[in-house]
């Protein structure tokens, strides 16, 4: 029983962490609360579903298709929204309001094209075999979700911590002006951040669509709330905090459903959030005045 809960917590937490990682990257580097991240998450799920249903892709190529589509969405987001607003030195909240507009547009487009009903992946595309480890049966699908989430996180962490690009990225997060003076291509890096963060959000969308086997136009909304919760619990703009916060929330939810009751699920997540806000508003790992990536 407990082992099964651990597997569930890991797969749900992995998806939360992946989503929050993209959200916190845009927050930390571009200093924007990207309220379109939930919509991009939803676009990722629809792109994979469309690839499977219409082009008969198998699961892995479908995930790549989703990455491509959401990456393109991230490119558009920076090129047409964030970059012009940066150039005009718009006030703090302007990009955030613009992303509300983007979220409304994307949701409306998807709803118009695919309809508002709940769509599913065909049964034969999902791996249904299980792996028996001692007394525990592990679903291959869960395992794949966990592995893919961990892989992407590992790559991201390595890039940010150890590569020259990551160093430049951290420099931009600290001070775009100083980074530009040192010869860093700031605009290029910000564009790349938006693309990569959107890809992470898109993959999270595909994974949650597989996990719950349901895809609907407003699926990004609750996820966005959870992403905000994770980022606050973990510490805002902090990559490590987003990862730990994601798994933390995943486990908290799974254990609440298993041992307390499913109607308390959201209450626990936001109860945690509220206590963090009151006691340590900068989050468990955050330092409010600084931005960290």
């Amino acid at each position: 029983m407990l082992a099964q809960q651990i597997i569930n917590g890991l797969s749900l937490g992995g998806v939360y962490a992946l989503f929050a990682l993209g959200f916190t990257l845009i927050f930390g580097v571009l200093n924007v609360i990207n309220l379109a991240h939930g919509a991009i998450f939803m676009i990722g799920a629809y792109a994979a579903l469309h690839a499977v249903l219409v082009f008969h892709f198998s699961l892995l190529p479908a995930i790549f298709a989703a990455m491509f589509v959401t990456g393109a969405a991230g490119w558009v987001l920076d090129k047409f929204i964030f970059a012009p607003l940066r150039a005009r030195r718009a006030p703090h909240l302007a990009p955030m309001i613009a992303t509300i507009g983007v979220a409304i547009c994307l949701t409306s487009l998807v709803e118009g094209y695919f309809g508002s009903e709940n769509l599913r992946f065909p049964i034969d595309t999902l791996p249904s075999s299980t792996l028996t480890l001692g007394s525990v049966q592990v679903n291959w699908l869960d395992l794949k979700i966990i592995l893919l989430a961990l892989l992407l996180m590992g790559v991201m962490l390595w890039v940010i911590r150890h590569s020259p690009t990551g160093r430049a990225l951290r420099g931009v997060a600290e001070s775009p002006k100083a980074a530009a003076l040192l010869g860093v291509n700031v605009d290029g890096l910000l564009l790349a951040t938006s693309v990569i963060a959107s890809i992470l959000g898109g993959v999270a969308g595909v994974l949650i669509a597989l996990y719950t086997n349901s895809v609907f136009p407003h699926m990004g909304q609750p996820m966005l709330h959870k992403g905000i919760a994770v980022v606050i619990i973990g510490g805002m703009g902090d990559v490590r905090g987003a990862l730990i916060g994601g798994f933390f929330l995943g486990f908290a939810e799974v254990l609440t459903i298993a041992y307390i009751g499913s109607n308390m699920r959201d209450a626990v997540a936001f109860g945690l959030l509220f206590s963090v806000l009151l006691l340590r508003p900068a989050g468990l790992f955050g330092h409010a005045p600084q931005r960290r990536v």
Partner: protein, 283 residues
């Protein structure tokens, strides 16, 4: 006067909603003008609405008292959470207050025996008329317009421009911020209490995340250079879905597109954009 009657019977809810939305826009204007990016107003609106409705519905309290209690309840909560959260600044405060709104919604959702949970509260007496709304908006607008010209208003502008410099002038920045936060909450609570008494029905989901960002959009689209910006933003956000009624199922798409275009071409708000256009010298 027959056309007036028919106009009123069709559009009364729309007119009243415009009024309460202008109040909400003013409530976020207060905090934005002080440089606080607070997005907690949907939560304060919920607190005002629920405390006022519980009074009128369960105990038959007269409307004015219920309205005042609604505003005060929201202000008390703001005082309580303002002290720890106002330590945060900028986008961090926005995130924290966004989460606060969600916490309020979840609490209301789970306190079923008091608030009716997800089903909400039904059959709220229709006590609010045009007078109540117009009166509240006029008073709030008058006070803010006068304040903007006063020493207090200038201090608030100074805080939004340079907090440290204002502090060094010997002004109590934290107190000013807290007062702005509390006044904004009281206004949002009042707007919630008013709004609940002409819609028959309230439920926690009306005061969620979407409402929070909608209120913020009113404030930012109108702009914070003048209280008139809030009036403009509140009216526009209320009217836009009505004006786009003919667009069918792609209506939200156009709504969102307009939002993006306004932000891209007039990032400091419509009121500010209007002023620059009008002041441009003619040749």
């Amino acid at each position: 006067m027959e056309w007036l009657d028919s106009f009123w019977s069709t559009y009364s809810t729309f007119v009243l909603a415009t009024g309460t939305n202008v109040l909400l826009a003013l409530s976020i204007y207060v905090t934005l003008a002080c440089g606080l990016l607070s997005v907690a107003n949907a939560g304060f609106m919920a607190i005002g609405a629920y405390s006022a409705v519980l009074l009128t519905l369960r105990t038959g309290t007269p409307l004015p008292i219920a309205l005042i209690v609604g505003a005060i309840a929201a202000a008390m909560v703001a005082l309580l959470i303002g002290v720890p959260t106002l330590r945060l600044s900028g986008v961090y405060l926005a995130m924290a207050t966004l989460a606060f709104g969600e916490v309020v919604r979840i609490l209301i959702l789970n306190a079923e025996n008091v608030t009716g949970g997800a089903l909400g509260l039904n059959g709220i007496p229709q006590l609010v008329g045009l007078f109540d709304v117009v009166f509240s908006v006029t008073v709030a607008l008058y006070v803010f317009l006068r304040l903007a010209q006063s020493r207090v208003g200038r201090t608030i502008t100074a805080i939004s421009q340079d907090e440290i410099a204002t502090e060094l002038m010997g002004l109590n920045v934290r107190a000013y911020k807290l007062v702005c936060f509390v006044v904004g909450a009281a206004l949002a609570g009042l707007a919630g209490a008013l709004n609940a008494h002409f819609t028959f029905f309230i439920s926690p989901n009306e005061y969620g995340f979407e409402r929070a960002v909608e209120i913020l959009a009113m404030g930012v689209i109108g702009g914070v250079s003048s209280p008139w910006g809030a009036v403009l933003g509140g009216s526009l956000i209320t009217a836009l879905p009505e004006l786009l009624r003919g667009m069918g199922r792609y209506r939200p798409l156009i709504n969102g597109g307009i939002l993006i275009i306004i932000i891209l071409y007039s990032p400091k708000g419509l009121w500010d954009g209007l002023q620059t256009v009008l002041r441009r010298p003619r040749r």
